[in-house]
Chain length 427, copies 3
């Protein structure tokens, strides 16, 4: 049986070739494969033209082939070699153009001459091709170029997936990720794949909270989802994470919710501080993914982002260089571990009240170890500190922050002290 690291990486590899966009069969195929891992996943299809707050679901876009032939009939740009070659949402084209007209429809990056850029035009009808700058410099022969784009942009559906995993109570933890970029690895597949494996873990354990998992195209997908579920979510969601850019091996990073004071924020900062103290902290002003919708005024869901290399900040971002070498099994697993630890902390967080006045006499309950080593000293010190702050007004997370130890070190101590009837949950 494969390790989680390898299984996640294998799923990234399997999903990588699919040509996704904000609508279309690439999204459906991606969700179908993920549903093999998560049998309960529910697929929703929302018709083009549906109103979603201030937005309208656009037409559905599909593409079968796209290429450019040079004046000699050589296929110089070929969608089948990389789906990044075609500008997203390009309209169908079948014509010959001059070199200069072709140039107006080409996109490349002079500063990154070996990278194909990722370009889209979702809401204005255009066509275009993206090429490496080296490739573009070879296209200089005057003459007639044949442009062929076998695409389809017409009324159809926007597709997203949802999974509700019940817990003991109705309060919810919300995990969101997106499935709308073509062949890119960190800023696309790392998110849905890590989310998939977090869900598999969630399904295998006892849950205090209900979990709401959403895989949807970025922006229009999250807006559409919110337009159908906001009222319920505002009542129930106590913490959430937008899961994106979680696959490379570089430093972790954190982007808070708008108000930066939710449980999701506090837990993420606590976990990162203890697991990866060198993490990079962004502000909400540097946002750029679905937290823009989840934290918008009036929506105000408690959603933060834990990432590795944040979108927009790493050189491979939105190019063909964001590939299967940038994302690694180790990179995926590190993020999985961090977010899973966050969920474990939220599940274990509660207000605690010590039952004695003055310190309890621990030795008569066998809680003072006879043999004193550095490790047991830390355990006793943590136990005494936990008791000293368990005044009913502090949650376990707050106590952990006050006494400056990872919350997960305290969880077994809480269990012991509850068993010994020294500590109660404060309702």
């Amino acid at each position: 049986m494969k390790s989680i690291d390898e299984s996640m990486y294998a799923l990234v590899c399997r999903l990588f070739p699919i040509c996704r966009s904000i609508t279309g069969n690439g999204v459906r195929e991606t969700l179908r494969i993920i549903a093999e891992e998560l049998p309960g996943l529910v697929i929703h299809e929302v018709p083009s033209g549906t109103q979603a707050f201030d937005w309208t679901v656009p037409g559905e876009w599909n593409v079968w082939d796209a290429y450019v032939l040079d004046p000699d009939g050589n296929k110089i740009i070929d969608f089948t070699k990389s789906n990044l070659h075609l500008v997203g949402y390009s309209i169908p084209v079948n014509k010959t153009v001059s070199l200069s007209e072709l140039q107006e429809h080409l996109y490349s990056l002079p500063d990154q001459p070996d990278a194909i850029p990722y370009i889209t035009s979702f809401y204005q009808e255009r066509w275009g091709f993206c090429v490496t700058h080296r490739q573009r410099e070879q296209i200089k022969k005057e003459g007639k170029y044949t442009v062929m784009i076998k695409s389809d942009l017409k009324s159809g559906y926007l597709t997203y997936a949802e999974l509700l995993i019940p817990g003991k109570c109705q309060e919810e933890i919300f995990l969101s990720t997106y499935i709308c970029h073509p062949s890119m690895a960190n800023n696309e597949l790392s998110g849905p794949v890590v989310t998939t494996f977090l869900v598999k873990w969630l399904l295998s354990r006892k849950r205090k909270y209900t979990y709401r998992i959403v895989l949807a195209p970025e922006t229009i997908g999250s807006i559409t989802y919110l337009s159908r579920n906001l009222e319920e979510m505002k009542k129930q969601v106590i913490a959430g994470y937008n899961i994106t850019c979680v696959g490379d091996e570089r430093a972790y990073s954190f982007l808070p919710s708008r108000k930066a004071d939710s449980l999701a924020d506090k837990v993420a900062l606590h976990v990162l501080k203890h697991m990866h103290p060198g993490f990079k902290q962004y502000t909400y002003l540097e946002r750029g993914s679905d937290e823009r919708q989840y934290c918008f005024p009036g929506v105000d869901l408690p959603v933060a982002s834990i990432m590795r290399s944040k979108y927009g900040t790493y050189p491979e971002y939105h190019t063909s260089l964001d590939d299967l070498t940038l994302v690694t099994p180790r990179g995926l697993k590190g993020s999985y571990d961090v977010i899973r630890k966050c969920i474990e902390c939220i599940e274990a967080d509660e207000y605690l009240q010590v039952v004695t006045l003055c310190e309890p006499k621990l030795d008569k309950r066998g809680l003072y170890p006879t043999l004193s080593t550095k490790q047991t000293n830390n355990l006793v010190r943590d136990m005494m500190n936990l008791l000293a702050y368990a005044d009913g007004s502090c949650s376990l997370l707050e106590i952990a922050d006050k006494i400056n130890v990872p919350m997960w070190n305290l969880i077994p101590i809480v269990k012991t002290l509850k068993h010994k009837k020294l500590l109660l949950r404060n309702h």
Copy 2:
């Protein structure tokens, strides 16, 4: 037509020779000239002996001439050459004195041998002359010196001026400056002159707020004014500035209100941070002008001070060196611009509420520019950030501080978004 810079400097020059004190004809003459610029200015005369809280309006002091003759009959100190030569509120004298008796009545500054110091004795009867230290060192001949002071200290009036400029609402912005120092430029005339030109600008524009402008002698004048107007001002004043030391070209400085948390404080800090980030920040412990009265317990008006070189901190302060070379057209105009910007910010400040749930679709309203340049990118970024924080609980000033842009960059965006019905004022 002269520029504002030149006009302000010309007014400083015209007012400079007048011998002002806390009462007397110098104050009247100063206010008469200012009233030529501000026709609606109302002059108030308060009789000597009038009670003003814990204080009493003193006798009125006027002076026609003052000099000292040496034993040979040479006029060695001459009030007509500089009104700083005479100690303020000197009683009438006409007698001969010995050299040593004369010395007891002379004031000079050994460390600034070319400066005549500014000395007053408002509340204790005295006479004296102020001279440069070089001048004093020449006064060494034994013999009889003739001292002549043709002054007058008797029951009269304290004079101050007031202007109320109505706005759309009764809430007020309060501007205060003082007119009680003789020939000094930065710590005297810069304040009333910049205030005069701010009022001219205010009269030319639409105003949300009512404006209360006061020109009065420092301390006894502001106390007298408060004793007659405090109740009304406590109800209506939402922000105010004490305008003093605003004429030189050195760094800007800020002195907060006592509690340092008023709208006047917040706006001044916002404006200075963006216009002159190198400004110097003082605390209320370093106060020394009429904010001592305006912010006194029980008075508690929201009055802060924006200055250039603060009183008491620059070498020319309270000497003849604070003259028409220290104050410049450019120095005056810089201060005028800063305080005017503060007033514009207060006028534009309001609580804002975005009307959509999730981000609005800006392109369908033509708010996403087709051609993307650095400048338009900043505009779009500021617009998105403004919307993201316009949750009804933040004022425009608070939003500007959160998103770290000058409030005046946001004012046209607010106008556009209100026009597009995306943003509302939150009442």
Copy 3:
């Protein structure tokens, strides 16, 4: 008559030889000597077996003699030479043991070869001897060693002392110290001795507050005391200090109450900041004395600690090196001065309200000195600042912190201003 410094040191010397523990005649003898200084001291005896919250008062321990004879009959360890040689609460023993069995009952410090460690076993029956490491290295001859411990551990009493000194009001200041360590000076006798002399001073002055003084064995003593007095103390105690480790000449240190925001905390920080700005600040996580009980959840008394070298941080701690050379008259007096200043500040603290609107005219009341020197300038500056903040919402301590002067500089100014009817206590 001896100075306070010398008197305190003399009392430390007199109490030093007594063999104290958490119960027994050493405690009684110590309290009897202190009662010579404080005639009103009340001695309480609590029977063994009495329940005190989660704890039980242990049996009473007394010891008359203890020694070890080597195989040749030489007395190689002798309790009469140092009471630290015997492990505290050692059970009676009279037997011969082999060298290796003896070694299992010996304690020494290889890193401090000239120090006898201080070891106890209050709640588990054991016997043992503590020796310097050099001494231990000499004990190597095989053969029969005679172990004699003439001790007694049986039902008896726990002894503590209490003094309530009435003031004008029922609100209390609480001073606690402990009397349970054998011959050690800083971490034992400095606390009760400084407390004794603070009480002598308190008895000699007028008091606003009532004072509650407790001398009890650490931990079990404070828990026992709280179990009998908590309800009343929670109603009445407004500030308290645990007085320990106050006898050496090294830097002062401060350990806050659990919530770190009580009057006791604020006053101690104010006093140390102005008297000894180089003081060391600990957090509640570094606690280790009776504040563990006084600040426990549900107890929540406002008790902080002012110390010199804190327990656990100095090399002589809990060894025979914590002796009469470490503690000095000057060390004791410095701590006495600091805690006395804290008490004076608490006694003088009150909410203050200026009676004038605008600044009062001070010269007409003779409060503006004619001759202006640096010192009088500071006095006037402090007076003006005090008036400027005396708005009825700030206590004198808070004003002193705002205007950054020692509170004791303001106390005479408050008196003057009250006398001049310019300042009132705000009830």
